[in-house]
């Protein structure tokens, strides 16, 4: 280890201890400022020291840039409006598909009522076809859940960006709760519909259910 590396380690440690004592906490912004100060004050003597000096300078620059970008996102009214606008559009999609689905089901009801007196095979065929219209309408439930998932994701992104901005501004973010002892909470089990390529089929579910002692 070179003298510069030892000096750097000591300076870092001292700086962190000072900050902890003075502010009762250390933010990413503090660490960035510390790197910047080191990059400006340390005098490299060897090639390795110079490389480290350059890396520290890059790190400080990167932290500063990231800070500016996050600040720009969270204070840019246009970006915020885009997220709100996207959520509202998705809400409208849910409403529109719900209305269309209800219209289809009303028509299916009318068909079933009208076919009620026909009798015989024809009546059964019409009833079955109207029943299939009903079954197909279950798409609205699935797409509704998927869209709600995306809306929540957008809200989550907005919240995270706000928290990151709080960190750079000196605030603290609430930690994300880990899964305790590998046991999933009931909230962890609420994932909504999976993508078709990943989703288990009814046959997969039946096999699992039977393996757990269930009767299919």
């Amino acid at each position: 280890m070179s003298d510069m590396q030892i000096e750097l380690g000591r300076a870092l440690l001292k700086g962190l201890v000072n900050l902890k004592t003075q502010k009762n906490g250390i933010t990413l912004e503090d660490v960035g400022a510390m790197f910047l100060e080191m990059a400006m004050t340390l005098q490299p003597v060897s090639k390795a020291d110079r490389e480290m000096h350059e890396e520290i300078a890059r790190l400080a620059e990167h932290i500063e840039e990231t800070k500016k970008e996050i600040f720009a996102i969270s204070t840019n009214e246009k970006s915020e409006a885009v997220i709100i606008d996207a959520s509202q559009h998705l809400d409208e999609v849910i409403k529109a598909t719900e209305e269309a689905t209800n219209a289809i089901m009303n028509a299916a009801d009318a068909i079933q009522s009208a076919a009620g007196g026909i009798g015989g095979e024809k009546e059964q065929q019409i009833m079955d076809a109207a029943g299939k219209l009903y079954e197909a309408c279950s798409f609205q439930d699935i797409t509704g859940q998927r869209i709600t998932k995306v809306i929540k994701l957008l809200e989550n992104i907005e919240e995270r960006v706000d928290k990151l901005n709080g960190i750079f501004g000196g605030g603290t973010a609430a930690p994300v709760a880990p899964i305790a002892n590998g046991v999933m909470s009931e909230k962890d089990l609420l994932n909504g519909p999976q993508l078709n390529a990943q989703a288990a089929s009814q046959t997969d579910i039946d096999a699992l259910f039977a393996s757990l002692g269930g009767k299919n």
Partner: protein
């Protein structure tokens, strides 16, 4: 024992569309006495007032989920023997395991059709 098609069935789902679809499928299968609830809490309140022969419930609902409803039903001396079918888009193995451990009678993954519903109802109630 023959299945009484006149029995009361409770359909629990936060989506009005889905409740209407299940009601229609049940009608096709000959079950006309269908009640609806939009979440677990509402279902539990209805179950205190009326006797149901079958509960068909979604999982993902607020404020009370289908899993919580199932647990409360199984914990109740009065309600614990009611057949309970979970109909949900939650199709991960951990969901099926959690529902089975809570005492679910059968599990249907959305989207589904009348044939699947009939098959699971037969498994739970017997031939009809």
């Amino acid at each position: 024992m023959a299945v009484d098609k006149g029995m009361q069935v409770l359909v629990v789902d936060d989506y009005n569309t889905m409740r209407r679809i299940i009601r229609n499928l049940l009608k096709q299968l000959g079950f006309d006495n269908v009640d609806e609830a939009a979440h677990g809490g509402e279902a539990l309140a209805k179950m205190q007032d009326k006797t149901y022969g079958l509960v068909i419930s979604d999982w993902n609902m607020e404020p009370m989920t289908g899993l919580e409803l199932l647990k409360q039903v199984r914990a109740s001396e009065k309600l614990k023997n009611i057949p309970f079918i979970m109909v949900t888009a939650e199709s991960k193995p951990e969901n099926v395991i959690a529902a089975k451990q809570a005492g679910v009678s059968n599990y249907i993954v959305k989207p589904f059709n009348a044939e699947t519903l009939k098959g699971k109802m037969t498994a739970v109630l017997g031939e009809f």
